[in-house]
């Protein structure tokens, strides 16, 4: 574990240029370049904030603003999108980099680090846009904003742990790559992102509680929408779960790596 972290440090130049190149090539030859990075999340937030709020103008308990629903939804999306971005990219990371892994020797840990880096940059851009939009809408929760980095860290831990484990298995059992988008759809709808958790019937609430993302997105809601500190119990639980998953995927990688390149 320590060895591979050292490897990642030695290859920091490769990691840095990979992340930069990902951004550069995405916006290469477009006229306004990097501005698209703000425009994409901004338009998403605006759609939720203006159109959906106008249509579904129901106020949520606990938020004063008339844009309550939009604020609730955006807060949840910030967490969900980071989780699903990292997970989806980890799922295909070894298959997409097959050629690189077959031809060159480098610490493989660099690959998830690159993914995390580029997903974090997107997430931070989204967060910045959200703050501006919230401020425009008159919704401001400065006291709890410091929790966001903590939540981000936990989300990364969970997404990397689960994503890498599935990504390793996906090299050998390619059905996983096909199955996961379906599971992610289910997971999205079994997590209160586009609907308030309160509208779920009591009996189902206990079932939902088994979904770790229920607690994660819930924490984002508390911090960004309600301006409250998240449940510490939930955070500790999620951190332990995320850490456990990361360790498990590290073990799985060690077992799988002798045969990994053979199967690519």
């Amino acid at each position: 574990m320590l060895e591979s972290l050292k490897g990642a440090w030695r290859y920091r130049q490769f990691i840095a240029t990979s992340i930069r190149h990902e951004l550069v090539t995405r916006f290469a030859r477009s006229r306004i370049g990097g501005a698209w990075m703000i425009i994409h999340p901004l338009s998403m937030v605006l759609i939720y904030a203006l159109i959906l709020s106008a249509v579904l103008s129901a106020k949520l308990p606990g938020i004063e603003s008339q844009y309550a629903y939009a604020i609730y939804l955006t807060a949840g999306m910030l967490g969900w999108s980071l989780f699903s971005d990292i997970l989806n990219r980890c799922l295909g990371v070894f298959i997409e980099n097959a050629n690189l892994m077959k031809k060159l020797v480098f610490p493989k840990i660099a690959l998830p680090v690159i993914i995390t880096g580029s997903c974090l940059i997107n997430n931070i851009a989204l967060f910045a846009v959200i703050l501006v939009v919230f401020a425009v809408l008159g919704h401001f929760t400065p006291a709890t904003l410091l929790w966001v980095p903590v939540l981000t860290g936990i989300t990364v831990l969970l997404a990397l742990g689960l994503g890498l484990m599935l990504g390793i298995l996906n090299v050998f059992i390619r059905d996983i790559g096909q199955l996961m988008p379906i599971i992610m759809q289910f997971l999205f709808w079994f997590t209160p992102v586009v609907y308030p958790a309160e509208i779920v019937p009591e009996s189902l609430q206990t079932v939902l509680a088994f979904n770790p993302l229920f607690h994660l997105v819930g924490a984002y809601h508390s911090v960004l929408a309600y301006g409250q500190a998240p449940s510490l119990l939930a955070l500790v639980g999620l951190t332990l779960l995320g850490g456990g998953l990361v360790i498990m995927s590290a073990v799985l990688f060690r077992k799988a790596s002798p045969e990994m390149v053979d199967a690519l």
């Binding site: 130049q13 240029t17 550069v24 690189l100 059992i173 799985l252 002798p258 045969e259 390149v261």
Partner: protein, 425 residues
């Protein structure tokens, strides 16, 4: 005493009992289960087995073999991308591989940015790469294109940049896989020179190529792989002759190897349906020759016996220099003198006259008897080192090299023209 010199130098690369197997399981879930408990694979396919060799510092070793012999697998294991199934590889120092040039290059980025990325992938830091950047740019010689996006490069220019960055830092072991035929002739020479320079500085080379000339000119030693095993390990010239023979080998053909008094190894192969019974070199007056003067007219006599009815026969010969480089070769197919409808028991006497416009040194003659234009179809007999002769320079002016292409040299001298003093101001 000789062995002492070897043991003093610790080998840079040690390969011991190396083997690689691909394992197949009933299904992939069984494979996953096998990582955590003893689950026997359904089938094991060995790609390589029992590979043993050392490579000393500064030594250049060629790896040859037919497609599927396991060359690439071996190189990938030495590079470290594939893990051995048994045995081990011990390397001392940095291993660099030119397996596929331009790995990870991105068309939207400039040459400079790609170099930064690519060298980062080799594990170098920003400071190290920046220090080498000017050299990389100078070596690639792509001019102002270095700061343009790579999608506007020609493929040759991409290769130049790729080679420059791949060889920007001298490795201790350099693995080259067929990649040397990059770019134009000028750049090929330049890249060969760089590789030779590395070798002089102590880099060990491992070269995979089907190019006989490249193996013989660069390598001190060659290893012939056949069906995942080391078939031969020795002098490049001998190995390439043997390799040539097995390519030509057909059913019921035999490859025979005999050591010669000179220390070289003679390879014979073929079906034996036609054989060379005698080969000799003579002066024009008929006297047999062993030493030939530069430019002397000689006659190569080849007597052939036919042992089976053959539809056609092509006779070819090849002159090779001391290190096995081909100097000249032709056959009666190319000269439109194919003999047809031969019957068993016939004897053919060939007399081939040519001017020996060769440089001083030792040369050998290889003969081949076959049908159609190459010995790859119906190889009746192939003999390497069928005849060896010496070239000496008895009366010509001194010259270098293996060919005598003497020019007439003319020089015109023009008197210096003096500028008038008032014009110079």
């Amino acid at each position: 005493m000789n062995t002492n010199a070897h043991t003093e130098k610790q080998p840079l690369l040690e390969v011991r009992e190396l083997g690689k197997a691909y394992r197949r399981y009933q299904n992939e879930f069984m494979r996953v289960a096998s990582w955590f408990s003893a689950v026997p694979p359904q089938e094991e396919t060995w790609i390589l087995r029992d590979i043993n060799f050392d490579v000393a510092q500064g030594e250049a070793v060629g790896i040859v073999g037919q497609n599927g012999a396991g060359k690439s697998t071996l190189l990938k294991m030495i590079t470290g991308t594939l893990r051995p199934s048994e045995g081990y590889i011990r390397t001392h120092g940095r291993v660099a591989a030119i397996l596929e040039l331009g790995m990870g290059f991105n068309g939207e980025l400039t040459g400079r940015q790609n170099v930064l990325h690519s060298a980062g992938l080799m594990g170098f830091t920003h400071a190290q790469i920046s220090a080498a950047m000017d050299d990389i740019e100078a070596f690639a010689e792509v001019g102002e294109y270095f700061d343009k996006p790579m999608r506007v490069y020609s493929s040759g220019m991409q290769m130049r940049v790729a080679f420059s960055v791949a060889t920007a830092f001298r490795p201790d072991i350099l693995i080259v896989d067929e990649a040397l035929s990059v770019g134009d002739a000028y750049f090929q020479h330049k890249s060969f020179d760089r590789i030779r320079e590395f070798q002089r500085q102590g880099t060990s080379l491992l070269i995979v190529s089907h190019d006989k000339a490249a193996i013989q000119s660069l390598c001190d030693r060659a290893i012939l792989l056949e069906q995942g095993r080391v078939l031969q390990d020795g002098q490049p010239q001998d190995i390439m002759d043997y390799y040539n023979a097995i390519i030509a080998q057909k059913e019921n053909a035999q490859v025979e190897v005999t050591p010669l008094a000179s220390g070289q190894i003679q390879t014979r192969s073929g079906t034996g349906e036609a054989t060379v019974t005698q080969i000799s070199l003579h002066a024009i007056n008929g006297n047999p020759l062993e030493v030939v003067d530069v430019g002397q007219e000689v006659e190569l006599r080849i007597d052939i016996a036919i042992h089976a009815d053959l539809p056609e026969l092509v006779v070819g010969y090849k002159l090779k220099d001391r290190v096995g480089q081909e100097i000249f070769g032709t056959n009666t197919w190319h000269t439109h003198q194919v003999e047809r409808e031969l019957t068993a028991g016939e004897v053919l006497n060939y007399r081939m006259r040519f001017k020996a416009n060769l440089g001083p040194g030792s040369y050998s003659v290889s003969t081949s008897l076959h049908s159609s234009d190459t010995h790859l179809t119906n190889n009746y007999q192939w003999v390497d080192h069928a005849l060896v002769f010496q070239m000496v320079n008895m009366e010509k002016d001194f010259f270098l090299g293996s060919s005598w292409v003497m020019p007439t040299i003319e020089c015109e001298r023009q008197a210096a023209t003096r500028l008038a003093p008032n014009e110079s101001n």
